[in-house]
Amino acid sequence: MSEPLQASVAPNPWLTASSWRLLFRDRPIIPLVFLLGLLIVISGLVRPNLINANQGAVILRAAVPLAILAFCQTLTMLTGGIDLSVGAVASASGFLVATLVGDQGLVLAIVIALIAAALVGLVTGIGVGVFRVHPLIMTLAMALVVLGLANVWQIETVQTGAGIPGELRTLGNSFVATYVPYNLAVFVPLALILLLGLRRTGYGRLLYAIGDNPIAARLSGARAWQVLVVLYVISAVLAAIAGFLIAGLNNTASVTLADSFLLPSVAAAVIGGTSILGGRGGIGGTIVGALILTVITALLNSLGYQAAVTQILFGLIIVAVAAAYTRVTAES
């Protein structure tokens, strides 16, 4: 008798705490977009002149290279790894193009830089996939190797000098129709390929499978080492592309130019809901994560805070967001 009665007073499932938790867990992008909107509203309230098309365009332009580097972190984190060599690879690729463009022409210079990056990724992938070196150590060591080689190259080419070709400057730094950053022309196709690649292809699912449960993936016939080798090559090539854009954005190239992007790229992926333990996350969240970080930086800069305060808030926000995720996604 009492059973139908209980059913009728059961609360609306959309309002229970657990359904919210499920929403956060399965679609982290919804609360993230909400957070981004909140940040923009706060920026508008505190600094009304910050909200206009010009500022938006500048923020978008700054977020693109960060997002591409954060893609590297997202993809590698899906398998339970991390890529700490993206800063070195991006700097070195930008530098390589700047030094080669004079003799070789732009296209050949870019191709050479991409091949060099792919080789670095291949070595990293073999270390991680075949020799089972911890990704943290492997990519860290490769960062040392790349930085050292780039420095050697710098000394070799010091006579010829370096210059950022005008095309890269346009691509990294300028706007189409005053408000659309040119670098979206690189970013949008890249993001679409990765988005579809992760969702629709077998390779994308293998990344999730290996990160979620490596043993189950192996027993189901996945060859983890092949997946990992390809993954780190992709990651290095993405880092090189970001390196071109960063060199163009700053109109300069140096062997440490992109280093300051390394930790924010990890932060963007973590804020975007990608778990460093593997198997959870995606490209969409990472894009929003990169936007959130860029908006926060712009807001704090416009408020005239010292870089110090920005740094501290950056760190605290990362811990807070990561803690919220851990709480929400914990198995109960």
């Binding site: 991390i82 700490l84 270390g127 020799f131 089972r132 070196v133 911890h134 943290l136 150590i137 492997m138 860290l140 060591a141 490769m142 960062a143 040392l144 190797v145 930085l147 050292g148 080689l149 420095n151 050697v152 000394i155 930790l263 990890v266 932060a267 973590v270 460093i276 333990l277 010292q306 870089a307 110090a308 305060v309 920005t310 740094q311 501290i312 808030l313 950056f314 760190g315 605290l316 990362i318 811990v319 990561a322 803690a323 995720y325 851990t326 914990a330």
Partner: protein
Amino acid sequence: MTAAVDTVPTRRQTWQEGFAAWARRNTWTLGLLGFLVLLIIFTKLINPSFGAGGISNIAIRALPLGFATAAQAIVVISGGIDLSVASMMAFVGVVTATLMEGQSPEFGLAVVIGVLLLGLLMGLVNGTLVVLTRVPDIVVTLAMSFVWWGAALLVLRTPGGESVRWLRDLALGPIGIDLLPRAAVLLVVVVAVIWIPLQRSRLGLSFYAVGSNQLAAFRSGVSVGRTKVLAYACTGLFAALGGLSLVATTTLGDPKPGPYTLPAVAAVVLGGVSLAGGRGGLAGPLIAVVILGLIRSDMTFLNLNQNLATVAEGVILIAVVMLGSFIQLRRSRA
């Protein structure tokens, strides 16, 4: 029943057996030591004038990295990792250099004690966040490295401050004979005084227990959370020592974190501490720091490009880790 009792060895181990067991436990460290000796012989062969000056240079450069490595080793042994070591060192460095500016030696001593406590406190914060939030330690300490770096920038925007004289004298110059730099003695003595009693204590044992198997440690009655927090606190303490040694050797406080976090991870791995935790000690990593420094100075002497030393460090690191995992793979198959 009695047979089982009889099989228990009743006689004491002879010293040869004891030595053999000790050598088996410390194969990696002894191997490193052997390699270091070979490297020194090689250095002397290529550069007969290598002597007090070279040794003292290496020791002075090894001092901050040595403390950073000790800091990293403790947290890695207990199964974590701390990417904020260099930022903590920078923060301690600027606080020390600012407070010591134009002050008396006595006040300098108070500052040293104060910043060591500050290091412990920073470590406690790191550890508490790792344990309470249950966020992976890489993420937490990466984020906290921003925080400590920002805190350092709040204290000083550009390198500045100064060191009291006795702190500089503690680290610079030789002690007794020319070949024995103070920096090396300081490093070894300080690490030994803190680490040896710690390793033999109940807490040290818990570090190893938690690092090798958290669940087993928990079921044996070890308080896992508290152990982790204390491991991070020890890391903070050694990072503070690293920050102090930066001030002592450069007589400045620099708010920009130096290249210590990741090279320290490298030295820890080279030194035979497993990144999986629960294995290794502090002797191996410190020897690894000296080896890396000696390789760098040899390359400079051979007029090889300095930057090739960076490449060499990376390659050595990869080679050692690959060798390690290769040995482990063979063991697990055997």
